[in-house]
Subunit: 442 residues, 2 copies
């Protein structure tokens, strides 16, 4: 499509181009436009109709939006903000300097400004930050026909009309779906059809919890109430889906000792990437020197039996891998609410059982290998017993730390592979040299 756009522009067939753009899906357009050079990008963008432009703009990556904004006039930007959904506008404004935001908002229309200012109050992790303020309000005394007429009047986009909210004295007293309206007689009263016992979120709820709730109950949309029960917005499934994807990404980043960021990999600069990674690397590097210090205390042991050194990588890696298997399963289990912290002892017990089976298999396999290679039973026993100790301990540490972190209201995802590996290294080296000096009588 990119090629066609360029060809049409070159041949100056603006009418055809306009028609092509009008028919295209805004998600695709956002992608295509991002691939164009800045100057052409602006020309194409200006050919879009107002509503479509706002939609395309909200699907673009922040880097590409910034390119456009640099060239746009102030009134063009204000026009865009006016046409965007309030939550998308907030998303866009969040990337801009505070003084620019104030300046732009001063020029947007009053209703939109109020919506935006309202949404800007909520913290980034709260439901407030992902909710939409455009929804259909009904009155309990309306009948189905009146309700449908109101929907026709206010319109808005499809996913937000499929559940309507019945408001009485500013409170949300019930919800009613488009399905109920379609399937019932025009004369039936809304108060007879509405569901008064509905699933909702509070503005202050964590956005991840709200997204999980929406997913759990398979809802298209969920109302957001403030502490007094006033309806202040709605969360739709597409925003929830994005939150769940982002949270999974962030957890993976944290589990790999990276400061979490929701900026796409390719549009993050080398410096930013380095900054996000260096902190944990420094902490973990210095922690690993503890293991080194312990090793240097056992100099006499590996001076007497140098081959001992060659098993250190295998022991450390196996310990790290075992610990990260456990911690990964448990961190993910906590994130998707399959494991609660009251399950702590069940989990620990399970990991203990698993570690016995796993360590026995590993110890036997490795013991046989060492015996075949070195014909030395004592050495074989030292390594195998150390392996058992390392595996059992690493699985227990990998199980207890994430749940413990959750209990202390810390993020369990931080207690993943890198941290566990560093801790387990130290323990396994101590076990190993203790076994070696005892069994080999060094």
């Amino acid at each position: 499509m990119n090629k066609i756009i360029l060809e049409l522009l070159e041949d100056n067939k603006l009418k055809d181009l306009h028609e092509l753009l009008r028919k295209s899906n805004p998600v695709d357009l956002a992608e295509e436009i991002s691939l164009l050079d800045e100057t052409i990008m602006v020309i194409v963008f200006r050919l879009l109709e107002k509503e479509q432009a706002a939609e395309v703009f909200s699907y673009m990556e922040s880097d590409d939006r910034n390119k456009l904004v640099k060239i746009f006039s102030k009134s063009e930007i204000v026009g865009l903000i006016d046409s965007m959904y309030a939550d998308d506008a907030v998303d866009f404004l969040a990337d801009m300097p505070a003084n620019v935001v104030t300046h732009l908002l001063d020029n947007t229309n009053k209703e939109q400004r109020q919506y935006i200012n309202h949404l800007l109050q909520y913290s980034e992790d709260s439901v407030g930050s992902i909710m939409t303020v455009e929804y259909v309000e009904l009155n309990k005394n309306m009948n189905v026909k009146q309700a449908l007429d109101k929907i026709r009047r206010v319109g808005i986009d499809s996913e937000t009309i499929y559940t309507c909210y019945v408001i009485d004295k500013k409170k949300c007293i019930g919800i009613i779906t488009a399905k109920d309206l379609i399937l019932n007689d025009p004369e039936v009263k809304i108060s007879e059809l509405m569901k008064t016992d509905f699933i909702y979120a509070l503005t202050s709820d964590d956005r991840e919890d709200a997204a999980n709730k929406l997913s759990k109950y398979g809802l298209i949309v969920m109302p957001v109430l403030d502490n007094e029960g006033f309806l202040v917005g709605i969360v739709t499934f597409d925003d929830a889906l994005e939150v769940l994807e982002d949270e999974a990404t962030e957890d993976m980043q944290k589990m790999a000792a990276i400061v979490a960021s929701d900026k796409p990999y390719l549009s993050t600069s080398i410096w930013e990437h380095a900054k996000n990674r260096i902190g944990w690397l420094l902490i973990l590097m210095f922690s690993a020197t503890i293991t080194g210090t312990i090793i240097s205390r056992y100099e006499h042991a590996f001076e007497a039996v140098p081959i001992l050194v060659s098993f250190i990588p295998m022991l450390m890696d196996t310990g790290g891998n075992c610990g990260s298997q456990s911690s990964t399963l448990i961190i993910r289990g906590l994130a998707v609410n399959e494991i609660k912290y009251t399950d702590m002892w069940r989990v620990v017990w399970k990991e203990f059982g698993i570690s016995l089976i796993v360590s026995a298999v590993l110890a036997v396999a490795n013991g046989i290998r060492i015996y075949i290679m070195y014909k030395n039973i004592a050495l074989s026993l030292v390594v195998s017993f150390s392996l058992i100790g390392t595996v059992v301990l690493s699985k227990l540490v990998g199980a207890i730390l994430p749940i413990g972190a959750k209990q202390l209201k810390l993020d369990p995802a931080v207690m993943a592979s890198p941290v566990i590996t560093t801790i387990v290294d130290t323990i396994s080296i101590i076990i190993y040299f203790y076994m070696a000096t005892t069994i080999l009588h060094i």
Copy 2:
């Protein structure tokens, strides 16, 4: 609620209990019922109305379903299957032995049996396996009123009526939303309102790709066509959401060297857990002995300078952490389509830049520490240079392997921390001892 259920049962207030159950959300009920003892579970379940029972049953975990099925009569099970959505029924039947499935299906009603047999053909990873076969078909010659009448007649559940499919000679020629029907005049023809250019999936598409597509375009539902353009089912957002959550979980498991499983942690037995973990541990353990073998070749080096051994853990851990940072970001980027394999060289170049910055910081910090502790510049240089080499190589390996795997149609998630650590260990030990023997003239 659990307590209330037990109290009502004890007092034999079955009517109250029946009323309480009828009002409860099926998702919550599935959870509550699972907490009860088997015998009580069955009693409570039998109090549910037919439709609700089928819904609750489809939300239950397979372990709990099996408990019920053991006690149920064949006709009870057949009744459940008849009342379930075809895709949920398939989900349930997939856990049962093949001969039991055949036996049960012989007794379900003909239409349901056809749906189920149809769905059972599709492979577990395909869109076919997650699609629903209940949807509303319209004809292009209908008008809005006739279309709404048809929706009223066929009903089905809410998310599946919000997009209807216009069928002509078995082919899907357009889609129309409930919003279009509500907002337009009763006399307008469907053919004038329907959208002929719509997003769809093919039955053979990967279910993850389809879920990503639905998420990308923010759709509630997407039609599934076979290769000839015949409509065979629909995928709804809640199924897509589940797929995306499951895929993220599976990727995390693979990245931690575990055989992926979508069974919840707590309902997986100790033996199954051990089986899922032992394979990779054995492979990685034996691979790690390569590093050990290399170390034993340099016995003369650490016999001359024993302190060299104490830096091995720090080097190995840092290399592993750096590699896993890169591989995690890239594996996730590939999974959510932010990185394509045509971006290979951009990514490698980026990681190279990042590794230079990161390794410089780590090398300086560590060099200073070693100089202060040991007052030995040569040693300080050996460790710092080795650190630079290790960090640069581990980031490059961490970047190239996942993208390479994707290009070879392997799963990038396998090229994560554990595999990378093992490879990087070997490289870093070679660099380290090469530096040591050269700079320290051993």
